[in-house]
Amino acid sequence: MQMHTDDELYQVDDVFLGPRGQTWPFRVRYRAYAIGGAVFGAIIAVEMWVGIVGLWPAVFGLLTAIWLTQRAMDHVDHERTIRSAATTLWHEITAPRRGRSGATRARMSLTSVRRTR
């Protein structure tokens, strides 16, 4: 019996080649634009909040946003969505651990017993 999977159908690269009639020299996925836009907006918001406004801070913010987006896209592919990457990051932050000295730094384990009253 043939053992097919449907996985390939869900591995479509949604790339944006540029506006109609203008083909850009690079191919970037739509979701990268979405992440980049959000990151850039956040950087600009932070800059404005601390009072740094101007062309150069905006250029610096753009370059930082591109760099951060590239790093973020390393963790996003057909197998891992943006949401799952963010969820995983949250899971790593909140996972229970023991301090280096051996003392409990965070809650030991979600499976351990706790009193309810």
């Binding site: 053992m3 159908l9 479509v12 197998e79 799952s84 995983t88 979600l110 017993v113």
Partner: protein, 892 residues
């Protein structure tokens, strides 16, 4: 509070319990002192309830045989499994595979309890065997399916006290759903039964203590667990993630009074490119885990998708593909080839989902996690590497981040940690995983035979009398194989092990090497080697070697007569019939022997046959008769046969004077020699010097020695078989007849094997028939009494087809080459084959390839080594007369 669980009174039926629990949840909350951090709050029977009210019904799947089935059988199994999964459309399934270790000491305990009156040195034997078996994994795979059957709304649970009717309706709807799922899970292809309290207890113990060693002792669980009880499971168990993005988590807990730590890594299955199963020989894709030398835990979350929903998603994907193609065309940029492929695949899937109504086009999405654990991070890493190599290159094994939450997925009722690495496939591909496929063979009560050498490498045990004592089956075991297949090694090992258990054996080994068993120090005081060729004259008297039935075996209170209207007369009738049968067999045997002593030209004549028949009719066929009475009867024949009969009697008289003939014709009535088989645990009868005819040669070509050897052989068979009746009926006994293919040439030989088979259950006999050709067994009409079969290396198309039929496998499915490839030697290798391979059908549904090795018992191995070895004779090798020459030609 410790990890031990509270004992509770036996529970009422689960359905009633479910209702009770649901109605009383609120009132009990105030009394609850502890709660776990798990989603699981209640377990009622096989139903698990989560904090969110999700109710999951848990089932345990029965093992499915995969080895040595035809491809059509395997395809049927996959299709049936897929159909069952498709019937669960719209539900989430949690597949969990875990293991139940079978401690070696528990096997030794079971074997000890199954042993009666062992030989001295039994404790040492048990210890040696335990050491050998401990080197291989001895655990049982348990496959659980958790199927969501519904959800209890929080509003309904909260208002339980106010609106009793609302919660009653809700719980009865869940009970209905559970009933539907119960029926689906019990159907062929799934063969799963609701998990009993012990199974639920084991699932929770193994899931919460993920990767920890299994506890040796578990208290008897009850059918209902409250949140407080579940909190007790988690007490003392700690799960921690050492560092951010650490490749493992650390699980620690108490096991049998000691603090234990394990490092657990959770992997997930990524891209798959599976070949056709079973046609490619790849095997079920989750069964591959059985090949690993360590147990791996599996947790798969499976959503069986509704057809409309799946179709909508496929159409959305097709639209995405088309949009990308249009976008590339708009920019006049060559589109990636994958887009065209994806478009074509999407259309095929869409058509399949829309037009296939068999249920086999149902789509599933699943997340398959595999957890491996080790004592330290290095061991865990090495095991992950082995797991990855096992699946390479067909399946990608990924180790994702977020190990802590991924590991929690293994606990029942915990949610899916993360959506990544989702696999989408038709239900048939998921069915190709067939996690319950098993390579089980043998039992856990008998001595060790060796280990399986097919998919997995696990110890194989067999209790040769369990078939008769428990399954009420017969005890006939043909051991088939060409020359050098290892029949002697296998049978010798069975005889050795069970002799040490105290079971008496009688062995007929015409060629004689097995007599060396009697010289082993541990068996020597209890065994006796008899060379029948040097026995007292008349030892093989055909009238004496078939005993009269014992009246004690035909008592009216016996099981078979108890239900008769008149047990007394039924038992007497049966006894009389058995006496008449024995007399008839003696006459037939005597005729066969007399025919065998004559040249074929004389035997084949009609007059000879008539004379022999008439003489046999006149002779008194009691145990006190003699073949000389038969000669007298021949001489007394009158009429047209008178002269011919006298000539035959003269010829037979001449044969009686020869040494071989003297064994058959007693000078005077011999005494009772049955004390030998009745007083020794192991009696090995050999016939050294017996020259058996060449395989396939016609009777006319036989020399005088060869001609006399045949009657002696099957008389010896009867002589050995007689021992079965010397001991109490229910006592365990063993009978090993070698060279059975020779006995099957004559009617009395076939009758001997049939009689042994027929009496094997009643007299609790395990009979091993060593033969070179399975076809003889099939044509001898003894297949009905065959319980288990061992087939060693077999060459020749006809012999292979017969061996497969004997195993219950249809020939023509490619297993012929497996038989030819058993115990294969490497070309050019000077090493002797230390171990031998067999295909073993255990009579209880299991068929596997096993390897029999005696490396841990060198003395036994040497005793059973029937391969020619000229060095055996000289204690010290002669001095090497050769010298190394120097370049110049002189001796150095």
């Amino acid at each position: 509070m410790s990890m031990s669980h509270k004992k509770k009174p036996a529970g009422r039926p689960p359905a009633r319990r479910l209702l009770d629990r649901l109605l009383t949840t609120k009132t009990h909350t105030r009394d609850r002192a502890y709660s776990s951090g798990l989603q699981l709050t209640d377990v009622i029977g096989h139903l698990a309830v989560s904090r969110t009210g999700q109710v999951t019904a848990w089932y345990v799947a029965a093992p499915q045989r995969w080895s040595f089935r035809t491809d059509s059988d395997r395809n049927w199994l996959i299709t049936a499994h897929a159909t069952r999964l498709a019937e669960l459309t719209g539900r989430r399934i949690h597949l969990r595979i875990t293991h139940r270790p079978y401690p070696v000491h528990r096997w030794a305990e079971a074997l000890h309890h199954a042993t009666l009156d062992p030989l001295p040195g039994w404790e040492r034997y048990l210890e040696e065997e335990q050491r050998k078996i401990a080197r291989l994994p001895l655990d049982d795979k348990i496959v659980y399916y958790g199927v969501r059957v519904g959800r209890l709304s929080s509003a309904g649970r909260s208002s339980a006290r106010l609106m009793r009717s609302a919660i009653t309706r809700e719980s009865s709807a869940i009970a209905d759903q559970a009933g539907i799922v119960d029926r689906i899970m019990a159907a062929p292809g799934m063969d799963a039964r609701p998990a009993d309290p012990a199974a639920m207890d084991w699932l929770l113990t193994r899931s919460i203590g993920l990767g920890l060693p299994a506890p040796v002792v578990l208290p008897r669980p009850s059918g209902v667990w409250t949140p407080e009880d579940i909190a007790e499971w988690t007490e003392g168990i700690e799960w921690t993630a050492p560092d951010p993005y650490s490749p493992h988590i650390k699980v620690s807990g108490e096991r049998d009074g000691q603090r234990v730590e394990r490092y657990v890594t959770v992997t997930t299955l990524g891209q798959m490119d599976l070949p056709a199963i079973p046609e490619s020989g790849y095997g079920p894709w989750l069964q591959r885990l059985d090949r690993l030398p360590f147990p791996a835990e599996v947790s798969a979350t499976i959503d069986v998708r509704d057809g409309k929903e799946a179709n909508r998603e496929v159409l959305d994907q097709l639209a995405r593909v088309q949009a990308q193609r249009d976008h590339h065309a708009e920019h006049r940029v060559a589109e990636p080839m994958s887009l065209a492929r994806q478009g074509a695949l999407g259309q095929i899937i869409e058509d399949d989902v829309r037009s296939n109504f068999s249920g086999l086009s149902t789509r599933v999405q699943c997340w398959v996690r595999i957890a491996v654990s080790g004592r330290d991070p290095e061991e865990t890493r090495a095991r992950v590497r082995m797991l990855t190599e096992e699946y390479t290159p067909r399946v990608t094994v990924v180790r994702p981040a977020g190990q802590y939450t991924l590991a929690r997925e293994f606990i029942p009722s915990e949610p899916l940690a993360v959506d990544s690495h989702k696999r989408r496939m038709p239900v048939t591909t998921l069915a190709g995983a067939l996690p319950a496929a098993s390579a089980e063979v043998g039992d856990r009560h008998g001595p060790n035979l060796g280990f399986t050498s097919g998919i997995t490498r696990r110890p194989v045990m067999w209790h040769p009398w369990r078939s008769q004592e428990v399954r009420e089956s017969s005890g006939l075991t043909p051991v088939v194989g060409s020359l050098g297949a290892g029949k002697t090694v296998l049978c010798g090992q069975i005889v050795y092990n069970t002799s040490r258990m105290g079971v008496p054996w009688v062995v007929l080994d015409p060629s004689g090497p097995v007599t060396r068993l009697c010289s082993l120090p541990e068996l020597r005081p209890y065994s006796k080697a008899i060379d029948l060729m040097r026995a007292e004259p008349g030892t093989l008297n055909p009238f004496r070697i078939i005993p009269d039935p014992d009246p004690a075996h035909y008592r009216p209170d016996a099981e078979e007569y108890r239900n008769e209207s008149d047990p007394q007369s039924a038992a007497e009738d049966a006894y009389r019939s058995a006496v008449a049968n024995a007399q008839s067999q003696r006459k037939t045997l005597c005729m066969d022997v007399m025919s065998g002593l004559l040249r074929s030209q004389i035997t084949d004549s009609e007059m000879t046959q008539r004379a022999l028949h008439l003489a046999a009719r006149r002779v008194d066929a009691t145990t006190h008769a003699s073949p000389r009475d038969f000669l007298t009867a021949l001489r007394q024949l009158e009429g047209s046969l008178e002269e011919h009969a006298r000539d035959i009697a003269e010829l037979l008289e001449a044969a009686a004077e020869l040494p071989q003939g003297q064994l058959i014709f007693p000078r005077v009535e011999a005494g009772d020699d049955r004390y030998q088989s009745a007083h020794h645990r192991l009696v090995v009868m050999s016939m050294r010097g017996l020259t058996l005819p060449t395989e396939g040669s016609s009777r006319a070509e036989w020399s005088l020695e060869e001609q006399y050897s045949m009657p002696l052989l099957y008389l010896a068979g009867w002589y050995a078989q007689r021992s079965v009746y010397d001991r109490p009926m229910s006592d365990r006994k063993g009978l090993w007849l070698d060279e059975c293919h020779e006995m099957l040439r004559v009617s009395s030989g076939r009758a001997l094997l049939r009689k042994t088979g027929r009496d094997s259950r009643k007299h609790n006999v395990r009979a091993l028939y060593g033969t070179q050709d399975a076809g003889d067994i099939l044509t001898a009409d003894i297949s009905n009494w065959v319980d288990s079969v061992f087939v060693g290396r077999t060459v020749g198309a006809e012999a292979q087809a017969a061996a497969l039929r004997l195993l219950g496998i249809d020939p023509g499915n490619g297993y012929e080459s497996v038989l030819a490839g058993l115990s294969q030697r490497t070309r050019g290798s000077d090493q002797r084959r230390g171990s031998r391979e067999f295909i073993w059908s255990d009579g209880d549904g299991g068929i596997e390839r096993i390897t029999v090795t005696l490396d841990h018992r060198p003395q036994l191995r040497d005793a059973l080594d029937s391969t020619a070895n000229p060095h055996k004779r000289t204690a010290t090798p002669a001095e090497n007369p050769y010298v190394t020459l120097s370049k110049g030609g002189g001796a150095s």
